[in-house]
């Protein structure tokens, strides 16, 4: 049953995503992409739990790799997007 409920969330999120992103103008497509990239670093949540759990050394190591990579994605992605968006000015 939980899978059905997760599928429901997925379906709604996809439709919402399409509606939201279609409204982003072409001029912002590069920051949109790097910003979306930062959001995809959301895997950090799963990685944190796996890295802090002591079920097995292999899982911890993989979790730590996951946390590292996802952090690069999150921190780098948001900062570079902010740097770009700061340049978009109207005169």
């Amino acid at each position: 049953m939980i899978t059905i409920y997760l599928l429901f969330i997925l379906m709604l999120a996809i439709f919402l995503g399409f509606e939201l992103i279609q409204k982003v103008p072409a001029t912002l497509h590069t920051p949109l992409m790097s910003g979306a990239n930062a959001i995809s670093g959301i895997t950090i949540l799963a990685a944190i739990v796996l890295a802090g759990n002591d079920s097995s050394t292999a899982a911890t190591v993989l979790g730590v790799i996951g946390v590292f990579c996802a952090t690069v994605n999150v921190v780098g992605g948001y900062l570079v997007t902010d740097r770009m968006l700061a340049m978009f000015k109207k005169k």
């Binding site: 899978t3 997760l6 969330i9 997925l10 996809i14 919402l16 995503g17 399409f18 939201l20 992103i21 409204k23 982003v24 103008p25 072409a26 001029t27 912002l28 497509h29 949109l32 992409m33 790097s34 910003g35 979306a36 990239n37 930062a38 959001i39 995809s40 670093g41 959301i42 895997t43 949540l45 990685a47 739990v49 890295a51 802090g52 002591d54 097995s56 292999a58 899982a59 730590v64 790799i65 996951g66 946390v67 590292f68 990579c69 996802a70 952090t71 690069v72 999150v74 921190v75 780098g76 992605g77 948001y78 900062l79 570079v80 997007t81 902010d82 740097r83 770009m84 000015k89 109207k90």
Partner: protein
């Protein structure tokens, strides 16, 4: 309140912030705020996740977060705007690797039920393909790997074989989730698939590939969310997936090609057209071009990747100010596939301090093309090729282009007479109203600027 319930309540709040952040990204005036909101959502979600009771030690988490932050801060401050396509490719790859690592960790941590095992292995495959594919794309964009499609004998068959093998070994693992060895085989196969899928795609099609890999990095997170039953991973991953798919679609439409065509074009025979473009190339020196600029009332600038390579955007901004002082109107017409990723030109021009309301889309400038006194093409080629409109049989026939040839005067700044990225002849260069200014884009524009100042 139960710890897990609390965490999930905060996740709902974070999801709302992500959505609101993306909504604000819909306009340049609010976009920065939107990105910050999205960042806050991420921070809140991370902090609340640290309260999870399954976490017994924080040492490694802190170390890896710190190390990741240092790398993230360093690259985000150091990258130049010309290098954004490469950076986004790398970030896509790193995101894919994170998802692959998480899925593998879930697999080795315990024996999973067959349902969870299936979705975990899917997350693993998408993540690994994104990782290796993005690195090949990065290599092509940074020209460490040839931008030409790399194809070898029987490659298509080899790809089908790889996919079949991946499905086989994945199924073997799912049937017996304690047999981890099969997972290692799947990882290796998925990594090879990523390389094999991107290698045959040419450099000109990289905007599509980056968009698609961006979408995959979201889908990988989404699949990992299913494996670990985490709502926020599913919502955020789906948003990113949708974003990448929309951009992929826009890029394909802008090239009048299907996604399948872009992904497999390396395997198809090169379309050669025997159409010989008739006419004469008419070069002009900047001294003469200057008089036309001085008399012009409205000027359209059409930038392409060549502008980025020559770093001509700052000189162009200088010229724009002089022209505006001279009471002329200057706007920029930007084709969706100009540059190496969606919106690349806009970022470069924003960096040069060009106001974003002067950056117009293709349809906006095409509808008033006849009224422009000058269309100046800087380092663009295929996106202004009239063959797309009038030359049946041309490989790019049917592609929507900026109709620069319909402006009163056309100036094309170009290094030499070589054909564009797509290797297609450009009849624009031979039109009666076209004048070629040969030279480095930055030098040519600086030259005109200098004459304005004299």
């Amino acid at each position: 309140m139960d710890n897990l319930v609390f965490i999930n309540v905060v996740y709902v709040f974070a999801a709302a912030l992500f959505i609101f952040g993306l909504k604000l990204l819909g306009h340049p005036a609010t976009a920065r705020k939107g990105n910050i909101l999205s960042g806050i959502a991420m921070l809140v979600a991370i902090i609340v996740t640290l309260m999870d009771q399954n976490i017994v030690s924080y040492g490694w988490i802190i170390v890896s977060v710190l190390a990741g932050s240092v790398v993230g801060i360093y690259v985000s401050q150091k990258v130049e705007m010309t290098g954004m396509p490469e950076l986004v490719s790398l970030f896509n790859g790193v995101g894919g690797l994170a998802s692959a690592a998480v899925a593998t960790a879930a697999i080795v941590a315990s024996d999973l039920s067959s349902g969870i095992a299936t979705i975990s292995v899917i997350a693993l495959i998408i993540g690994a393909v994104t990782f290796s594919g993005s690195f090949v794309a990065w290599g092509k964009l940074s020209e460490r790997i040839s931008g030409k499609p790399i194809v070898f004998h029987l490659q298509a068959i080899a790809n089908y074989g790889l996919i079949a093998a991946t499905i086989l070994f994945s199924s073997l693992y799912v049937m017996d989730p304690s047999s981890i060895t099969f997972v290692y085989v799947v990882i290796a196969l998925a990594l090879i698939i990523g390389v094999m899928v991107v290698l045959p795609i040419g450099g000109a099609d990289m905007p599509v590939v980056i968009s698609l890999l961006n979408s995959y990095s979201g889908l990988a997170a989404c699949a990992a969310g299913f494996a670990l039953e985490n709502n926020l991973l599913i919502v955020a991953g789906a948003l990113v997936g949708a974003s990448g798919i929309i951009l992929t679609n826009i890029m394909c439409k802008a090239m009048n090609r299907s996604l399948i065509n872009v992904l497999t074009s390396g395997f198809q025979e090169v379309v050669t057209n025997d159409v010989v473009v008739e006419g004469e190339i008419k070069p002009i020196i900047t001294e003469d071009a200057f008089y036309v600029f001085e008399a012009a009332q409205s000027i359209l600038v059409i930038p392409g990747y060549g502008m980025a390579v020559a770093q001509a955007q700052h000189a162009m901004k200088e010229l724009q100010e002089l022209l505006e002082k001279n009471d002329a109107e200057v706007v920029y017409g930007i084709h969706p596939v100009a540059g190496r990723m969606p919106g690349h030109m806009n970022v470069l021009l924003a960096e040069a301090d060009v106001s974003y309301d002067l950056l117009l889309e293709m349809d906006e400038v095409n509808s008033r093309m006849e009224n422009f006194d000058i269309a100046i093409v800087i380092g663009a080629n295929d996106v202004v090729n009239p063959a797309a409109r009038e030359l049946k049989g041309s490989p790019i026939y049917g592609m929507p282009v900026i109709n620069a040839d319909l402006a009163k005067n056309v100036f094309v700044i170009k290094r030499s007479m070589s054909s564009g990225f797509a290797g297609v002849e450009n009849p624009l260069f031979f039109k009666d109203n076209t004048r070629m200014i040969f030279g480095d884009a930055k030098e040519v524009i600086s030259n005109i600027v200098r004459q304005f100042n004299d």
